[in-house]
């Protein structure tokens, strides 16, 4: 591991000031991802500013019935928080589907959003990777990629400086994307709010950047707006083993059914997908297709297929398309069955 200095600040503004003039410095939250990347030589900060206990560790009520989650709330505490379990089951389920008990105890809410991809070439400094080393190429498109992106990727071939088929690894972020959370950020120029839709980005022509955060901006809290019908919501995840593995694909969904029995229609619906793209993928095509229409298996499948029409799989990950289509259908069927029960 490369040598680095370690500092603590008195408050969030102090942490921002410490990092402002350190272009190669980084914030340290729980460290469950960053410390490992430093050990692998992927991350080489000169300075770590410890923010694990600097921002709020509280979950507080917002006036609209939503929740404000302090960036330092550990993932385990957030999953155990009764208001999250009651109001946003998909968020509690997403958190519980991620990592292990030990990691959830240490990992923070803010840090979870900023996890780096688990693409095997990103974490191997001997291999080309446009995300880790700009312009070095992409080993994944011609290599091991069954876990990687089928939507929104940049694929101009392995030699291109833009190619990146990485996926975002967070489960929690997929649920927060479905819930239209807002990320509160503190920077050198003060505070700003970022809709989570605008936090994570597609690789485009700069795969090195996972998010739209400027250097030194610190996530201080995540606001989850009220969504009364999110009490009928689910997070489902498919992975290579039953527990403690990253998603091949995942679905976070909530649905508001109007009417009862076979004539029920979809009043409103939220669907976000994990494991398919460089960012948590909001399935707006499927949502638009479903809103106001029948809540039937055929409609759910047709909407999912419409969303996945834009997919551009690699040679070894086309299986994700029927897998995520089936997952959307089964998740919506499960929610509608519970609503009708």
């Amino acid at each position: 591991m490369r040598e680095f200095r370690y500092e603590k600040a008195a408050d969030p503004a102090g942490a921002v000031a410490l990092l402002a003039d350190e272009p190669t410095g980084a914030y340290l939250g729980g460290g469950t991802n960053l410390v490992d990347l430093m050990r692998l030589g992927v991350a080489t900060p000169d300075l770590l500013v410890d923010v694990r206990q600097l921002t709020s560790t509280e979950v507080t009520d917002l006036p609209d019935g939503g929740l404000r989650i302090g960036a330092a709330v550990p993932n385990a505490d957030l999953a155990g928080e009764r208001r999250v379990r009651e109001r946003y089951p998909l968020l509690a389920q997403a958190l519980l589907a991620g990592a292990s008990g030990q990691l959830r105890n240490r990992a923070t809410t803010g840090g979870n959003l900023l996890q780096r991809t688990r693409c095997t070439y990103f974490t191997d400094v001997t291999m080309p990777c446009n995300k880790r080393e700009a312009g070095s190429g992409c080993a994944a498109v011609g290599g091991y990629h069954r876990n990687l992106a089928v939507l929104g990727a940049t694929n101009e071939g392995g030699e291109s400086p833009h190619t990146c088929v990485a996926t975002h690894p967070s489960d929690m972020a997929v649920a927060l994307r479905a819930l239209d959370a807002t990320v509160q950020v503190l920077g050198r120029d003060g505070e700003r709010s970022i809709p989570i839709a605008e936090l994570h980005r597609l690789p485009g022509d700069d795969p090195t950047r996972d998010t739209t955060l400027a250097h030194g901006e610190l996530i201080t809290a995540i606001d989850v707006p009220a969504l009364p019908w999110a009490t009928r919501s689910r997070y489902r995840k498919v992975r290579d083993r039953a527990s403690y593995a990253f998603a091949l694909v995942s679905v976070a969904a909530a649905m508001d059914l109007q009417g009862t029995g076979p004539d029920a229609v979809v009043g409103d619906v939220r669907i976000a997908l994990g494991g398919v793209a460089h960012k948590p993928w909001r399935a707006t095509v499927a949502e638009d297709a479903l809103r106001g229409g029948p809540a039937t298996e055929a409609a759910f499948t047709a909407a999912a297929e419409a969303e996945l029409a834009a997919a551009d799989p690699l040679s070894d990950n086309a299986f994700k398309i029927p897998m995520v289509t089936n997952m959307i259908t089964r998740t919506l069927l499960q929610i509608s069955a519970e609503a009708r029960a």
């Binding site: 370690y6 030990q102 240490r106």
Partner: protein, 188 residues
């Protein structure tokens, strides 16, 4: 440690030492650590406390699990400088005047073969029991908002999934944890 030549591209090597105080299994020890030192390495190499084991050193196997202020964490991913002032408990430290009940049930149920993962399994199990006592659900919990946690076999398997055992003693680890869960009122 990687030989010096491999670090040439990163410029001059300057060790960055910090003075910290670690509280481990009831003992308080001041020491100077390089910022790169993990809590696991500080325990084993500096304090001579070899209870927690190094398996993968990537947070994937759980052999290094300790309790930090009573909560289970992977000590390989915790930088020692960040543990200043916190209470570290290893499997050894769980013992009081005699063995902890988990030590006894692991022996009674033959819940290990080589034993390398066992201190991590036991501290992790202690964490599982504490989390269950708080009513925290898991990924396999049917009812997310249940008032009480019932540590069924399926719940124990899910909650212990961060601890790998290459001897595959899982079949005996589950009843060893279950017996203590019953005693503590978190298993029906």
């Amino acid at each position: 440690m990687v030989p010096g030549s491999a670090w040439g591209a990163w410029g001059t090597c300057v060790a960055v030492d910090n003075e910290i105080t670690l509280r481990v299994d009831g003992a308080v020890t001041p020491l100077t650590v390089d910022t790169r030192t993990s809590l696991l390495d500080a325990l084993r190499e500096r304090l001579g406390n070899t209870s927690a084991k190094k398996g993968c050193d990537h947070g994937q196997c759980g052999a290094c699990t300790v309790l930090l202020d009573g909560r289970r964490v992977n000590s390989c991913l915790v930088l020692a400088v960040t543990a200043e002032g916190q209470e570290v408990t290893t499997s050894d430290g769980l013992a009081g005047d005699g063995p902890h009940r988990l030590h006894e049930t692991f022996v009674d149920h033959d819940a290990y073969q080589c034993g390398y993962c066992t201190p991590g399994q036991i501290t992790s199990a202690a964490g599982v029991l504490a989390e269950a006592a708080q009513g925290w659900p898991s990924a396999v919990s049917e009812d997310l908002v249940a008032e009480r946690t019932d540590l069924t076999d399926a719940e124990i398997r899910e909650r212990m999934s961060g601890n790998l055992c290459r001897c595959a003693a899982y079949a005996n680890i589950v009843p060893a944890v279950a017996e203590v869960a019953t005693e503590q009122g978190v298993r029906a």
